[in-house]
Symmetry: C2
Subunit: 421 residues, 2 copies
């Protein structure tokens, strides 16, 4: 048999071409494999809660004092809204970017009544949780290279959001009571500072910032032409006659204050994803651009449920507070019994104790792993909150009930007493 | 009465100090007012759908051919899931970042069965819609300055997402049939190119890209070490024996292909916000960082509803397709009757007709406003999709039923015939 010359040539050429393409393709994929992710995402810390959660799953029976959740269920009014949801064809379509009208009305009333916010020139945007509102607000007002000031320890998702959008987190220390150092804040401000963030009641320390401090910070922001981001996710969780104050209620502050609220903790439905942000009216168009590109609207079933929750209102959360107070007292008492091994400041809000573990050579990550594996109790390492010096742990007691607190905190204190030298 | 000298001095000093602070505070706020938003957000176009929606609201009785929604309700299985939701305490807590396990399983089965995706080394992340998945994927793989290639006309929210995260959109033309020009794509690639985006079936043209074209594009991406983002939100909506092809099903393509899916259109619950993204396993940790910071998890009620929807599956959507085909035929026929006034390419997917209006001096925005105000019919201006030359309109017919199509398209054609010269 004899093949024509041009056929042989064509076949040979095709073979070489395919070989070349395959090699070249490998080269292309190799390029991708060398840097598969963005630089910005590499600069962001690994989510800590799922890290702890994975350890919990691998160690069945572990009592979780990690995630920031409450033990109580959503109010009946919220569940009822879900039962009735779906009858109207509009329930299935996209809703308005800012949230459905009756939810807007309910939120507006709540903010006026409880937070004394002046909403005449402000807008409200409902998001799928307050984390999202924070990220979207950053995109709305801050450019790459802009500096965003966080107090130490910070709430990890805020630091992550800042890095993710190529802004620069600037850390300002708090005092021994976890209260902001306003002098240090003032010194940290530069021409690139765009936002100062406060979280009160605080995650992870539980510190409630006094009205005077929040006024000082808010005023400093006004003087310097900086936004004040006020995270108020834990507004309902205060103890010992300490009250929550909303900086957005300061006269004229609406112009530079962006306030973040969440229904996740107050109404026991963290997984339903409803939060909202209050911002000056002149930022609304810009925030709408982000909302349209990211979420479009919060999930309609959850928005209707939120109306039910707001109808139940603070009275619902308040019903569970005596329980939470007892849990908190037990937690603080048992930690105090550990003496010099553990330093904890008694703060007045949220449902966290932020504890420094003294006299240990273990890193916080090692300690968290060790506590889960040997004592079946999970907490969150302090490095996630920016506390790299010393070994810090965040203990979340919101999910404990008076009847389960002894077991949970008992395991923790036993573990902390038994830390290997 | 006589005041001590030092009291007078103190009071005077205090008055001046307060005056100074007030002026200074005004100065700070003025600084903010000069540039209240970020530069990146100023570079993003105003959301077009709410713009059209506002005109519709101002003109009651307008038939909306604007928003990309379908007329059919969610499947009973999805509603039923909502009815049963809330019994388990876990329903209220945060779910896993990637979505709840039974939904992951249902999606995995769907993708293997219908899209022939090889998922061995891929991960699935459930988001609150496919827009969000796109934005999160950009943050995961692209840095500021990276070039992202979109075919013209583009889907507006993708162009908005690209600018919002400081990447650079690069536009590549399509041919007269709205099909990608692969040669032009190849020429548009530079060392900064990070992603090529395809949307098939296409929004806004309805073009379905043939398997050969998608293979060429996917291979080109592999050769050059570029990600291929494949938006498949309209996968169920094809006509005339044209079939949808998933580039992620190409052998080995999983390494550089990120595929986006949505339940909004297929199951008639756009407002419930469920979509998902398939990405190479080695990107999962990075995508988890974004998910944790933005959404944490898709709303739990919606996730359970999605399980019900996937149980109903494609068979549910298919049931409505004969209706949609009849609507489409009528729309195309009536537009053809307009002769040279309107140029429309008959494409094979989605539920959009992208029409060029000839011989008019009106801009697309003026025409959209005029059609709503004088003929009570709403469409979307082509400039939102990057078509600035000539006057283009996107006509969405997904929300029409066979019995309402005559009225809707009748108003539009009557309006287009009556355009003032």
């Amino acid at each position: 048999m004899c093949w024509p010359y041009d056929t042989v040539l064509t076949v040979a050429f095709e073979v070489f071409r395919l070989l070349f393409l395959t090699l070249d393709s490998c080269h292309g994929i190799d390029m991708l494999n060398d840097a598969p992710t963005s630089g910005r995402i590499r600069s962001v810390q690994t989510p800590v809660i799922p890290f702890v959660q994975d350890l919990v799953t691998a160690n069945p029976g572990t009592i979780p004092l990690g995630q920031g959740v409450v033990h109580f269920p959503p109010p009946t009014e919220a569940i009822q809204q879900l039962r009735e949801f779906g009858g109207d064809p509009d329930h299935h379509l996209y809703g308005p970017l800012e949230g459905i009208e009756p939810l807007q009305v309910a939120i507006r009333q709540k903010l006026q009544r409880e937070n004394a916010l002046d909403l005449d020139d402000s807008a409200i945007v409902v998001t799928a949780g307050s984390n999202m509102a924070f990220l979207q607000a950053l995109l709305t007002v801050a450019d790459p290279g802009d500096e965003i000031i966080l107090f130490l320890p910070y709430y990890f998702n805020q630091e992550m959001a800042i890095r993710m959008v190529n802004c620069v987190p600037v850390f300002v220390p708090t005092d021994a009571q976890h209260q902001p150092d306003v002098g240090a804040l003032e010194r940290a401000i530069t021409p690139r500072t765009r936002v100062v963030v406060t979280v009160s009641p605080n995650n992870p320390t539980g510190a409630v910032y006094p009205e005077t401090t929040l006024r000082q910070i808010n005023r400093l922001c006004a003087l310097r032409g900086i936004y004040h981001f006020s995270d108020e996710a834990y507004e309902y969780f205060t103890y010992a006659d300490v009250f929550h104050f909303s900086p957005g209620s300061i006269h004229g502050a609406y112009r530079h204050t962006i306030s973040f609220f969440s229904l996740s903790k107050s109404f026991g439905f963290a997984g339903w994803r409803v939060g909202y942000v209050v911002l000056p009216e002149h930022l609304l168009l810009s925030m709408r651009k982000v909302q349209d590109t990211n979420l479009i609207c919060a999930a309609m079933p959850s928005q209707y449920a939120a109306i039910g929750a707001l109808r139940a209102g603070y009275a619902y959360t308040a019903k569970w507070m005596p329980d939470l107070r007892r849990v908190r007292d037990t937690v603080l008492m048992r930690l105090a019994e550990l003496g010099s091994r553990v330093s904890v400041v008694e703060t007045s809000g949220a449902f966290y104790a932020f504890a420094r573990i003294n006299d240990t050579q273990m890193s916080d990550l090692e300690l968290v792993r060790w506590l889960i594996e040997t004592h079946q109790v999970a907490v969150v390492p302090g490095s996630a909150f920016g506390c790299d010096e010393g070994c810090w742990l965040r203990i979340s007691y919101g999910a404990l009930r008076p009847e389960s607190v002894i077991a949970g905190i008992g395991r923790l204190t036993k573990g902390l007493q038994a830390i290997p030298a």
